[in-house]
């Protein structure tokens, strides 16, 4: 049975411009499913819509979504908060610039303690700061005390993304949505973050919806992938199949531009820049 099911999702602006049309996909437990596409293809809007984070003036116009069999999204209405968390592109901006990392973790842990309804509430007792430190070291940060005392702008992007992942895990989600989590990071840091996400999936058995423009990263991370173009899913299949037997013209083009040897007849078209 799949963990996340999205059916017929459409997203529009207030003025009626269609950003995503009739999108369907699913993610299994312990599975990493990718959404790949160029900027403006609607992949980020899809990710944001699942957590009710669409910006002002943009809304879900149709479709529904279920997580663990519970419907949480029904057209424009968010029925419930899904047990999902999200990590973002540009992790430094995603953290509050005026709060130390420690304070931000404590804020989250306190909030989770208050709103925690699952049976693990008793186990969560104990010093919040110690738990924050434990959380930070669980994402491979060597000196938790130092990091907790810092502000986001004093840490590298990779370090901040680790913190974000730590926070995302702390909420014990069944689904993690990752929106371009390594874009803008150094290549070596990028590999470390990807490893960390993979390890997290293995350890907690959660599902991941992984959004990226980078076919290479998708191929490393995902079992299945949805290829999006101009608000529509062109193809949704196993990464292997897409890689070796692309069924759609746009997918072929995307693969060509990602690989080292593009096939000229497919990119020289000129209608598509960037």
């Amino acid at each position: 049975m799949s963990l996340l099911t999205v059916r017929g999702l459409s997203i529009q602006t207030r003025t009626g411009v269609s950003l995503v049309r009739d999108l369907s996909l699913d993610v299994g437990a312990g599975e990493v499913v990718g959404i790949v596409g160029e900027s403006g293809s609607g992949k980020t809007m899809t990710a944001l819509s699942l957590l009710g984070l669409l910006p002002d003036g943009v809304h879900v116009s149709a479709g529904e979504a279920e997580l663990e069999g519970r419907r949480f999204l029904d057209g424009p209405r968010m029925l419930a908060r899904p047990n999902a968390t999200m990590i973002f592109q540009n992790p430094t901006a995603a953290l509050n610039p005026t709060m130390r990392i420690g304070a931000q973790l404590v804020r989250l842990l306190r909030f989770l303690d208050r709103s925690g309804t699952d049976g693990s509430a008793g186990r969560r007792r104990g010093d919040v700061r110690e738990r924050a430190a434990a959380l930070v070291s669980s994402v491979g940060i060597a000196d938790p005390a130092a990091v907790l005392g810092r502000y986001p702008h004093q840490l590298s992007g990779g370090m901040n993304q680790r913190v974000m992942i730590a926070m995302a895990i702390a909420a014990r989600p069944s689904l993690l949505v990752a929106d371009e989590p390594t874009t803008g990071l150094d290549v070596t840091v990028q590999a470390q973050i990807l490893d960390l996400i993979r390890a997290t999936v293995a350890q907690h058995g959660i599902g991941v919806l992984f959004v990226s423009h980078d076919m290479g990263v998708i191929a490393q991370m995902c079992q299945r992938v949805a290829v999006m173009y101009d608000g529509e899913v062109r193809e949704f299949a196993a990464v292997d199949d897409i890689y070796h037997r692309p069924g759609d013209a746009y997918t072929r083009e995307l693969l060509a531009s990602a690989s080292d040897h593009p096939r000229p007849e497919e990119v020289a078209d000129g209608t598509r820049a960037g």
């Binding site: 968390t85 995603a94 509050n96 005026t98 989250l108």
Partner: protein, 340 residues
């Protein structure tokens, strides 16, 4: 950090010197003749010459300047033509009244500014925001002397909500024993709540007028900073965890929007302690330095006015320097950027 401290202190010192020099140039070197202005329009040539001799205006400009700067460093602001008293002493004795009024007005301006700014940001682009915008335009286009008159006509004389504009206390009340010079505080310290209440009631209307008219710039800054914060990536992170709206407003919104308020407070202080204050003190017979400046102006007491201007300029530089320190201390990013 130490280097930036030194640098800021240096800039402040240069500015204070500049204040002194500029004031000298304006009052002594501009084409106007201070002796003639001081002696009055209908004074005879001899009277003008007397004034010129008495205040050293018959000496050469460099000699006048040396004398002036020497006085300035000894914190001597000269002698009032009108009262023949040292200007510094007159200003010092009147300062508490202005501080009581100005600080209350500043408090009102900040509370109102932050309150309305946040309200507008929360209701952004909707009716609540529009109403706040209307307030901002009206309040920043209102002449303080006019609205004060309207308020006195309606609120005091018409409906009797506030006490008559006759100084710091209504008739029948004696000033409390001098401790801080702020009547409300002193009366409370002396255990006299009746006088404190009367002083507060008298203080409230002029302070409200100054505070309300000074608030628009704070509203604007808080509104745009709060909107920026509420639409920021980090507020989105908070929403992704499902934090309650109040937590997001305070921890993500307000926390990040109060920083720019600090720099703006200097500008607002300029209005409530000086610009608007001169007019309000005169209309409310408030015995502070603004009223002193007004009387000096009416009586052509150029030296008293000069002393007032120097005091305001120096105070303004000091306020802004202190605010810069506060800003650097509150915003973690400023220190890092300048410390490296």
């Amino acid at each position: 950090m130490l280097r930036t401290t030194g640098k800021r202190a240096g800039v402040a010192l240069v500015s204070i010197l500049g204040v002194a020099v500029l004031t000298f140039f304006i009052t002594q070197l501009l084409p106007g003749d201070p002796a003639r202005i001081a002696a009055g329009q209908y004074a005879s040539e001899e009277q003008v010459a007397d004034v010129r001799a008495k205040y050293g205006l018959d000496q050469s400009v460099p000699a006048q300047f040396a004398q002036y700067m020497g006085d300035f460093f000894r914190m001597d602001l000269g002698t009032s033509i009108r009262t023949d008293q040292p200007v510094r002493d007159e200003l010092t004795s009147r300062l508490p009244a202005t501080l009581e009024l100005g600080l209350t007005a500043l408090l009102i301006a900040v509370l109102l500014g932050v309150g309305l700014g946040v309200t507008a940001a929360v209701h952004r682009y909707r009716i609540g925001d529009r109403l706040v915008q209307v307030f901002v335009v009206l309040a920043s286009a209102t002449a303080v002397f006019w609205i004060a008159l309207v308020a006195i006509t309606t609120l005091v004389n018409g409906w009797g909500i506030f006490t008559s504009p006759t100084g710091r206390l209504p008739r029948g009340f004696a000033p409390p024993e001098h401790v801080t010079g702020l009547y409300v505080v002193d009366a409370l310290l002396a255990g006299d709540p009746a006088t404190a209440g009367a002083a507060l009631r008298t203080l409230l209307l002029p302070a409200l007028l100054l505070g309300v008219l000074a608030s628009p710039s704070i509203v604007k800054i808080v509104r745009s900073a709060t909107i920026r914060a509420l639409e920021s990536d980090f507020a989105r992170t908070s929403r992704s965890f499902g934090y309650p709206a109040r937590s997001i407003l305070f921890q993500d919104g307000l926390r990040n929007s109060l920083l720019p308020v600090i720099t703006n407070v200097g500008l607002v202080a300029g209005f409530v302690l000086a610009g608007g204050d001169v007019i309000i003190e005169q209309l409310f017979a408030w015995p502070g330095i603004g009223g002193y400046a007004y009387s000096s102006l009416q009586e052509n007491d150029l030296f008293a006015l000069r002393g007032y201007v120097i005091a305001i300029g120096v105070a303004y530089v000091l306020i802004n320097t202190v605010l810069e320190f506060v800003y650097g201390w509150v915003d973690p990013r400023v220190n890092l950027a300048e410390g490296s």
